[in-house]
């Protein structure tokens, strides 16, 4: 009887051990990947480029400041039609400031700030390990394949399938999948670049989506710089004054 019990325990332990190991390793990989992409608190300049089927493009220049795990604010610097538009995210709370309106408006976190292929999830995302947990990890030689599950329903993409460069621990490709299982978009990470503070990461993220056939969007990181901010920078009264941080 005793031997039989031991055998059952051993069998169950064998079954669950890889899962536990994978879970721990996966979370660790995700945290390291986040730090390889950007410091915990930073300022950045990004250009968002929408390329339309006829070849015409629309470009947006975005200044972003982030602090810790739950505070991020972004300001559109161009084009003139979007200039001054700013967003603030504190955890799951999100606000939009439009200069003509003159006050921040609380928006739903799934709402789009500008038209086009980009949405809030692309512009105002927090660290991956804050919004997602690793449900599965697969070793593919020079790459890992991480299956990520959103921790809350406030995240735009319920699941991410992330291909990670095992040596550099940066993403190579991310498939964004809705709760229904539908593929919403695929992000392709390209062009490794050295930024300040020892950050070496892909500077270009290309996006294609089956929902917008023929359209392509590109996010280009021009500057990523470690910087600490007072907590008060991430408040509603400060949102119209983000420009003064530059």
């Amino acid at each position: 009887m005793f031997r039989r019990t031991i055998a059952i325990f051993a069998f169950v332990a064998l079954l669950v051990a890889p899962a536990f190991a994978a879970d721990v390793d996966g979370e660790e990989i995700l945290k390291k990947l986040d730090r390889n992409l950007a410091p915990a608190s930073f300022e950045s300049y990004r250009k968002l480029i929408n390329i339309e089927p006829d070849g015409s493009t629309r470009e947006y220049l975005l200044y972003t400041v982030k602090k810790g795990n739950d505070k991020i604010a972004a300001l559109f610097l161009s084009p003139p039609s979007e200039k001054g538009r700013a967003t603030l995210r504190l955890g799951d709370n999100m606000w939009l400031y439009i200069p003509d309106v003159g006050k921040p408006i609380r928006i739903t976190s799934l709402q789009s700030v500008i038209g086009g292929v980009f949405n809030n999830a692309d512009i105002m995302s927090l660290d991956y390990h804050v919004e997602y947990s690793v449900s599965q990890i697969e070793d593919r030689g020079s790459e890992y394949l991480l299956d990520l599950k959103a921790k809350t329903g406030a995240v735009a993409y319920d699941r991410l399938k992330m291909t990670v460069d095992k040596k550099l621990l940066v993403p190579l490709e991310i498939q964004c999948i809705a709760a229904s299982g539908m593929l919403i978009k695929t992000l392709h990470f390209k062009e490794m670049k050295k930024f300040e503070d020892g950050i070496t990461r892909p500077a270009v993220i290309e996006t294609d989506s089956p929902l917008y056939r023929g359209y392509k969007s590109i996010m280009v990181y021009a500057v990523i710089k470690s910087r600490t901010f007072a907590d008060e920078v991430f408040t509603l009264p400060f949102l119209p004054r983000l420009e003064t941080l530059r």
Partner: protein, 439 residues
């Protein structure tokens, strides 16, 4: 405020300087099928900050209105009954926004020029919307002095607690408004725990014969303030205005995301010593009393990106239907039709604002980029007067065919019988096209 086409033309002359004095940016064209070339060095150059900025938009807005020649407001607007059928208007506008920043100080200015052509001929307007100096003493403290727009409240179409704002147009609530000359500050403090932010924003607003005289009784200094917080993921504000230009008033507003796609908000205002008047301008009650106004609303986003905003507004200072019945009867008297009649100016002054009655419902539904057509947003808005059942229905479509160019086409149907708010408006229908080019 000035009223001169010459001033508008001066503002117009600044447009090419602003439009061509900086990089246009935002748009380019490449051959279909070719790989997009990224110039990282060029993008890095674009991130360099200049101490000054100049921008704004140029606008052209033709509109026509189908007049209701039997309505009360037609009689007030056209006492000689000289306009029949369709009224045409051609508005051209220029918005100029500039700033200069040096260290912790900045100067911000917004000017608005409007040139109108209608049955009365040409008319020009140049207004300073904002012009103020801002000093960021620290991230916790900012001081502003000058002409500035102060926006209070959480409502989309109406804001009962907007004690120091000019009233916005609920049919176009996102449009910029003119500010008042104020001295204001923002003290902000962040915390860990359920109370994440606490801020106090005092405002001092003087009223004299030449400064802020539209605000209320002159020769007084008014003081207001907003204590705002983010508490348990809820925006919660307490507001007040004291002084002798307007009666003392207190307010509370809040806003919260119930779910990631569902937001609720509300406002409540207590207006003390309110003197109720009739629409003809005479006092309707002997004494003063406290009036309460409130707003409750929600914003909902569906999976297909249809945004629905719904609000209920109770205007405690508004007129009752019985008051308006008397008013509409008076408008149809021969005395009211006389342009020189003292009653006429009284009517127009009393009812110059929109939504002067007591209870309204507002619904707006907008669909982002239907059928995969990017930068296209069809929408429909309706405002229903609960007191008389009249309403307006405003379908519209906004499209941006290229960067910095925005087109908006919309119509407005005004529906209601005689003796109702929308039935007595001067138009039965209005159609307008707005073209804006941002620079």
């Amino acid at each position: 405020m000035t009223h001169a086409p010459a001033h508008f033309l001066m503002l117009l002359c600044l447009f090419p300087m602003a439009a061509f004095g900086q990089e246009s940016g935002g748009e380019s064209q490449q051959q279909p099928g070719t790989e997009y070339q990224i110039d990282l060095a060029q993008i890095e150059k674009e991130t360099e900050k200049k101490p000054y900025s100049l921008g704004g938009f140029l606008e052209f807005q033709p509109a026509f209105s189908v007049l209701d020649e039997e309505s009360a407001f037609y009689r007030l607007r056209f006492p000689r009954r000289n306009e029949e059928g369709i009224l045409q208007q051609y508005n051209s506008g220029l918005r100029l926004e500039g700033s200069y920043q040096k260290g912790a100080a900045g100067f911000y200015v917004t000017g608005n020029g409007l040139l109108k052509k209608d049955y009365l001929g040409w008319k020009g307007n140049v207004d300073l919307y904002q012009g103020y100096l801002s000093l960021r003493v620290s991230p916790n403290l900012t001081l502003d002095v000058g002409k500035k727009v102060i926006k209070w409240g959480k409502g989309y179409a109406w804001n009962p607690v907007a004690f120091v704002d000019r009233p916005k147009n609920p049919e176009d609530p996102l449009e910029a408004l003119e500010g008042f000359y104020v001295l204001s500050a923002d003290f902000v403090k962040s915390f860990q725990g359920p109370l994440k932010t606490l801020a106090f924003s005092p405002v001092v607003l003087p009223v004299t014969g030449s400064v802020n005289h539209e605000f209320g009784e002159s020769a007084h200094v008014n003081v207001g303030g907003k204590l705002s917080s983010l508490l348990w993921d809820t925006d919660l504000d307490f507001l007040f205005l004291a002084g002798s230009s307007r009666s003392t008033r207190y307010g509370i507003d809040l806003s919260r995301n119930i779910r990631s796609n569902f937001e609720v908000h509300g406002e409540w205002a207590w207006i003390t010593d309110f003197q109720r008047s009739s629409p003809t301008g005479s006092a309707a009650s002997a004494g003063k009393s406290t009036a309460h106004s409130m707003l409750a609303g929600a914003r909902y986003l569906t999976a297909s990106e249809l945004t629905v905003i719904a609000e209920y507004y109770h205007n405690g200072t508004g007129f009752f239907p019985d008051d308006m019945d008397v008013f509409y009867q008076n408008v149809r008297t021969p005395e009211a039709s006389s342009p020189a009649g003292s009653q006429l100016s009284s009517f127009q002054q009393t009812l110059s604002g929109t939504n002067f009655m007591r209870d309204y419902l507002y619904v707006r539904a907008s669909q982002k980029e239907p059928f995969g057509i990017l930068y296209l947003t069809p929408e429909v808005t309706s405002i229903v007067g609960r007191g008389d059942g009249s309403f307006t229905l405003i379908p519209g479509i906004t499209y941006s065919p290229r960067t910095n160019l925005q087109l908006r086409l919309r119509g407005a149907f005004l529906i209601g019988g005689r003796g109702t708010e929308y039935g007595e408006k001067q138009n039965d229908f209005r159609m307008e096209l707005r073209m804006r080019y941002f620079y």
